[in-house]
């Protein structure tokens, strides 16, 4: 069991992508907040290639960082192996598999709830009954969101048809934009912008968009209605507390990303507060409450959307 941290703890984050990557950015933002509000030391490495991932993690561990966090798209097992070698250090990584004793805790972007809610909005707002998702690639984290979005839409609008496109990389906005345009031209009129580039297409083609991960309304206030936001703050706050108290154990912190814990929510409507039909707003508010109350559960499907 990791030892009690003396006073100020040191946190390091290792990210496989540049910090701009939407998921990574949410983790980063929360850690920055921890630095400011909890007074922890925080450093990070961005763009750490899979080939270097273990080395960088080890370096931090060797240097005595008490908590090492990070994403792990393809570095899941690498991270686990490193953690095994440094049992006194707390590791908390995004992961689809469970935690590993003694020190490897996991979290995940369980934001399918707000995604479902935004799907409901999309289902109501579409006129063509065709909605689309442009995503990076078909991995569980993304499938989960794509499926929840589509399920939300279908619940409120049986006639809705969903289209999915993958661009094959996490960063290629011009391609994402083209993929979105291709969908729009085939009739899609509300689109879920899993990646950068999609909102711009929606804006240009005058259709509606649902943002992802953070509040992106500022990119196109008239286009972006709302979208799921992932807030890592509850997770980070809790984990830091554990480490500080010296009571850290390997756990699944995924729950802290649920709406109930404030780990995810629907982005503010901004301009759309006045534009969204009251009926839709009411419907979403009702469903949101049911989720918070635990009377409604959003199904989780991680298979590739069809």
């Amino acid at each position: 069991q990791p030892a009690m941290a003396a006073g100020n703890i040191k946190i390091a984050a290792v990210f496989e992508t540049p910090i701009e990557e939407p998921w990574v950015n949410q983790i980063h933002v929360a850690l920055l907040k921890a630095k400011k509000e909890l007074g922890v030391e925080y450093t990070w490495s961005e763009s750490v290639k899979a080939a270097d991932f273990a080395r960088v993690m080890r370096e931090y561990a060797e240097k005595g960082y008490q908590l090492i966090m990070g994403d792990s798209f393809g570095t899941e097992k690498i991270a686990r192996r490193v953690a095994r070698d440094y049992p006194k250090t707390a590791f908390v990584f995004g992961s689809g598999i469970g935690p590993a004793e003694p020190n490897f805790g996991v979290f995940d972007n369980w934001i399918q709830e707000p995604t479902y809610l935004s799907g409901m909005i999309a289902g109501k707002m579409t006129k063509s009954n065709k909605i689309g998702v442009v995503a990076a690639m078909a991995i569980p984290e993304i499938n989960r969101l794509s499926n929840a979005f589509c399920a939300g839409a279908k619940e409120v609008n049986k006639a809705v048809k969903c289209q999915f496109s993958f661009i094959g990389s996490f960063f290629d906005p011009p391609k994402a934009k083209e993929a979105a345009i291709a969908q729009i031209e085939s009739g899609v009129d509300v689109i879920y912008a899993e990646r950068f580039g999609v909102i711009e297409a929606a804006k240009e083609k005058n259709i509606l968009a649902i943002s992802n991960m953070s509040d992106q309304s500022s990119l196109a206030p008239d286009t972006v209605i709302t979208g799921p936001v992932w807030d890592m703050w509850p997770t980070v706050k809790y984990v830091v507390g554990l480490v500080k108290a010296g009571v850290y154990t390997a756990q699944d912190f995924g729950g802290f990303s649920y709406m109930g814990k404030g780990g995810s929510y629907l982005a503010p409507l901004h301009k759309w507060d006045s534009k969204l039909p009251a009926a839709v707003k009411a419907m979403v508010a009702k469903r949101k409450q049911e989720i918070l109350d635990g009377t409604f559960r959003v199904d989780i499907s991680e298979s590739a959307p069809q």
């Binding site: 496109s165 290629d172 934009k177 083209e178």
Partner: protein
């Protein structure tokens, strides 16, 4: 049948032209370099660097065309480095190119971080709007395809005939081709091989810069890490595919764009359930196949890859 209905859409052709545009810029740029005898493998890095520089220029001045100018200058800077390395110093073109790509892509990200820090929302600009050519754009079907595009798209399709004219009808173009075929011959005809190659690489850099600018300022409105995503490498392939001819290279770019635009639509239409990676690799596979078919008659500029040192034999 359904595929046909996907293709026969105004939007499809418009997308085709848009996707082809950065490839045409890259390809024509590369063409100048290769016709002068220099393989510019620095293209990927140069396009990246100019995408970044152009975006930054536009971001701070709020002038898109100023941004384009910056991108062009940045591209020419890359061309200059290539020229110093493999023309003045006569170093291996493969390595000079890979070095240039390494250096310039590293520099793009590095400077981007220095300029913009690590913002939590990426900085964006108001990108180019399509230019609607009055009257012509109203023509059904071809109007919206051909006459409602970004200014840079028009430019891309303009430089193809212009390049062809320059190469085959102007003294400078002839000198350039001669330098690429037989530098000795050019030299003894009073043409400076080094100067011509410098000019070619600078022009190449200029077009690569336009390609980068198009990606970060028209097709997208920000500089992000995957903004080039191998489009430079593809341009190199397209030059060979097009047998070093401007029109054929453009045709190659259009074919590539055709496949890409088509795969995006096929994916979206959920018509066929094959892994999407198959669509993604289609352009590459077809390019290799097509090259296997045409290559027997293709002939690279004879002096390609050969440094020219005046007093050496």
């Amino acid at each position: 049948m359904e595929i046909l209905s996907q293709i026969l859409q105004v939007g499809f052709f418009a997308a085709l032209l848009r996707i082809a545009t950065p490839l045409i810029f890259g390809t024509i740029g590369e063409l100048y370099a290769e016709r002068a005898g220099v393989l510019n493998l620095g293209i990927e890095g140069i396009m990246m660097f100019s995408a970044m520089a152009g975006f930054s220029g536009a971001y701070f001045t709020h002038s898109l065309w100023f941004g384009v100018l910056v991108a062009v200058l940045a591209g020419m800077l890359g061309g200059l480095l290539m020229a110093v390395l493999c023309v003045s110093l006569g170093l291996s073109q493969h390595v000079s190119g890979i070095g240039t790509t390494l250096l310039f892509s590293g520099l793009s990200f590095f400077l981007y971080r220095l300029i913009f820090g690590q913002p939590s929302t990426i900085p964006v600009i108001e990108p180019f709007r399509t230019v609607n050519i009055p009257w012509l754009a109203k023509i059904p079907i071809i109007g919206p395809v051909l006459f409602d595009q970004y200014a840079l798209v028009y430019l891309a399709f303009l430089i193809v005939p212009v390049t062809s004219w320059i190469l085959y009808h102007t003294p400078w173009g002839l000198n350039l081709r001669t330098v690429g075929e037989n530098p000795q011959a050019a030299n003894s005809a009073g043409v400076s091989v080094a100067a011509t190659r410098y000019q070619a690489l600078l022009i190449a850099g200029m077009f690569m810069g336009l390609g980068g600018a198009f990606l970060s300022m028209a097709q997208y409105n920000a500089f992000t890490f995957g903004v080039i995503s191998g489009r430079g490498w593809i341009s190199i392939a397209l030059v060979v595919f097009g047998q070093w001819s401007p029109y054929k290279s453009m045709a190659g770019a259009l074919l590539f764009a055709f496949i890409d635009a088509l795969q995006l639509r096929l994916q979206a239409s959920n018509m066929i359930h094959i892994p999407y990676q198959v669509f993604l690799m289609m352009p590459f596979v077809l390019t290799i196949l097509a090259m296997a078919l045409v290559s027997r008659n293709a002939r690279a500029p004879a002096a390609l890859l050969r440094p020219f040192r005046k007093e050496e034999r």
